[in-house]
């Protein structure tokens, strides 16, 4: 009986905390639907008259479809090449047990210690000289920053895949690439999902690197465009909040459909 009462209490506390956790989203959304003067009159309550005007204006100002497309393109391409190239590299490093392999693996892991700010200035200067401050350059940089953790995670999984599988496929006449692509890579699928999730979260939300690399109008990602948009409408909260709400929608949709994999991916990535 006492246990039941205790569970009820914990459930109740959890419920209150969940409400508290969602309050910022509630405040953002309801105020995004208000007329400008309503935000000043009543910030906490529901809108007196619901208006979509803010969203229409924010949608246009953010050039939302194009910005969304830029974000999808950059995150999508970056994550795909991180997955494929990191898996390939981890495969080579795990199947070749030489001193060079251990050294390279060490270098990749050690690179995880380097904070972005400590390489950003020469990075931008040098890529600028090469004329690579554009989307392609940005994607290449994401490969450089994203590959370390990914190789580390794949390497751990590959240790558990028996080498006899490789050998059997080789006897059947498969070359290295075929062994990797048709035998090993499919076996790595669960880890590829984890690697994909971990990388897409930071790349999708990254602001600083794109702000230094892609300046040109029309190629901004969501965080970049939102930063300028917010700067323009600091005193016009109804528009700013509508813009914020719009830009969160894609993430919430993805979370709704893939929350189990996302939470599992985060746990796998953090604990290892």
């Amino acid at each position: 009986m006492r246990d039941k009462w205790k569970l009820w209490l914990i459930g109740f506390i959890g419920f209150i905390l969940a409400i508290l956790w969602l309050t910022p989203f509630y405040l953002m959304i309801v105020n995004a639907f208000k007329m400008k003067r309503d935000i000043f009159a009543d910030t906490l309550g529901l809108p007196e008259t619901w208006t979509f005007e803010n969203f229409i204006q924010a949608f246009e100002q953010l050039d939302f479809l194009r910005t969304l497309f830029n974000s999808l393109l950059i995150s999508g391409v970056s994550v795909v090449i991180i997955i494929i190239f990191s898996a390939m590299a981890a495969y080579a490093l795990s199947r070749n047990k030489s001193k060079i392999s251990s050294l390279l693996f060490f270098v990749f892991v050690a690179a995880m210690l380097i904070p972005f700010q400590s390489v950003m200035i020469p990075l931008v200067a040098q890529f600028g000289k090469l004329g690579m401050l554009n989307k392609a350059g940005l994607i290449f940089m994401y490969l450089g920053f994203g590959c370390s953790l990914s190789i580390f995670l794949y390497h751990g999984t590959l240790k558990g895949i028996p080498i006899s599988l490789d050998e059997a496929a080789k006897i059947d006449g498969a070359n290295r690439f075929q062994v990797f692509w048709y035998i090993i890579f499919p076996l790595l699928k669960p880890m590829s999902i984890t690697v994909g999730i971990l990388n897409v979260i930071w790349i999708w939300n990254d602001y600083l690197l794109p702000s230094l690399v892609i300046g040109g109008a029309g190629s901004e990602t969501i965080p970049l465009k939102l930063f300028f948009f917010f700067g323009q409408y600091t005193k016009q909260w109804h528009l700013a909040l509508a813009g914020l709400t719009l830009s969160i929608i894609p993430v919430i949709i993805a979370y709704f459909f893939a929350q189990r994999q996302i939470i599992k991916g985060i746990a796998d990535g953090a604990v290892k």
Binding site: I121, P122, C147, Y207
Partner: protein, 286 residues
């Protein structure tokens, strides 16, 4: 696969090229530039340790540094207490645990920049409205002073990161064997004793992981800093990462900014290596 196999190097080429061009060469150049008067263009002249010596008397930078340390310490404590509490709630046998976990984790998926803007609205407009409504003075003027900026940043990052830390604690809590808890229950241990003597020791590794994760996250924070306070008032809530970006790209003081970046790198590396050392030591003891 042998070293002299073309396949071996072909498999490694894409990531090696990226790592070398994006991380390793800039890192080496960064060290070099920090000893020169490089301004982003042209050939740099070697000026030795000048920038590093200047840094020790640069009040702006030292203040930033001190603010970052204070922020990190407070963030570590608050985030871990909240994260562990959330994990304990979610792993208790309540029916709503899945939905609660989903809710608590949600802020993590959204970028720090967007979250900072949302909280800017809350601290300025909503807190203001609550202040007017209740007449409590403490709700007014948030983000306009150093203290409210500091606690604003703590609230923002705790709200964002507690769910992440919760996931880590959950992973360890779920590994605690059920029968051990049951046995202790039968022996008459109350829930505090069970936590203190069974759960806590088994979850101890999670503390190391979480403490270091929160430390390195909060020490390197940039987006939240930029969108919530942007250093205001008078750069008093500016943290190291932001200070480096500003002195490089706003003040165009490239080589000086790079010297700051080298110090930043050394500190982050030392913190991370300490964690690796502690983890290895524990593995040996086990």
């Amino acid at each position: 696969m042998r070293n002299r196999d073309a396949a071996y190097w072909l498999f490694l080429t894409p990531v090696l090229a990226a790592l070398i061009l994006v991380v390793i060469i800039p890192l080496i150049y960064g060290f070099y530039y920090s000893f020169t008067n490089w301004n982003g263009l042209g050939t740099p002249d070697f000026i030795g340790l000048k920038h590093y010596l200047d840094l020790f008397t640069d009040k702006g930078f030292l203040d930033t540094f001190w603010f970052t340390i204070k922020f990190s310490v407070a963030a570590i404590v608050v985030i871990n207490i909240i994260g562990l509490s959330l994990a304990l709630i979610v792993t208790s046998k309540i029916k709503s645990s899945n939905i609660l976990r989903t809710v608590f984790f949600m802020p993590n998926l959204i970028g720090g920049l967007i979250l900072g803007f949302i909280w800017q609205f809350i601290f300025i407009k909503v807190f203001g409205a609550i202040g007017d409504l209740t007449g409590i003075e403490a709700f007014n003027g948030w983000l306009s002073t150093t203290d409210t900026g500091f606690w604003g940043l703590i609230i923002l990052t705790s709200w964002q990161m507690a769910g992440y830390i919760m996931i880590i604690y959950i992973a360890y809590l779920q590994a605690v064997p059920e029968d051990l808890i049951e046995a202790a229950k039968i022996d008459g241990a109350n829930s505090f004793q069970r936590f203190r003597h069974i759960t806590f020791p088994l979850v101890a590794p999670a503390f190391t992981v979480s403490l270091f994760l929160t430390l390195s996250h909060s020490f390197k924070i940039y987006d939240q800093n930029l969108s919530l306070t942007n250093g205001a008032p008078y750069n008093s809530t500016e943290m190291v990462a932001m200070n480096i970006v500003k002195s490089a790209f706003t003040e165009n003081d490239m080589a000086y900014a790079q010297a700051k970046a080298v110090i930043f790198f050394v500190i982050v590396a030392v913190v991370s290596l300490t964690q690796v050392y502690i983890n290895k030591k524990r593995e040996v003891e086990l």
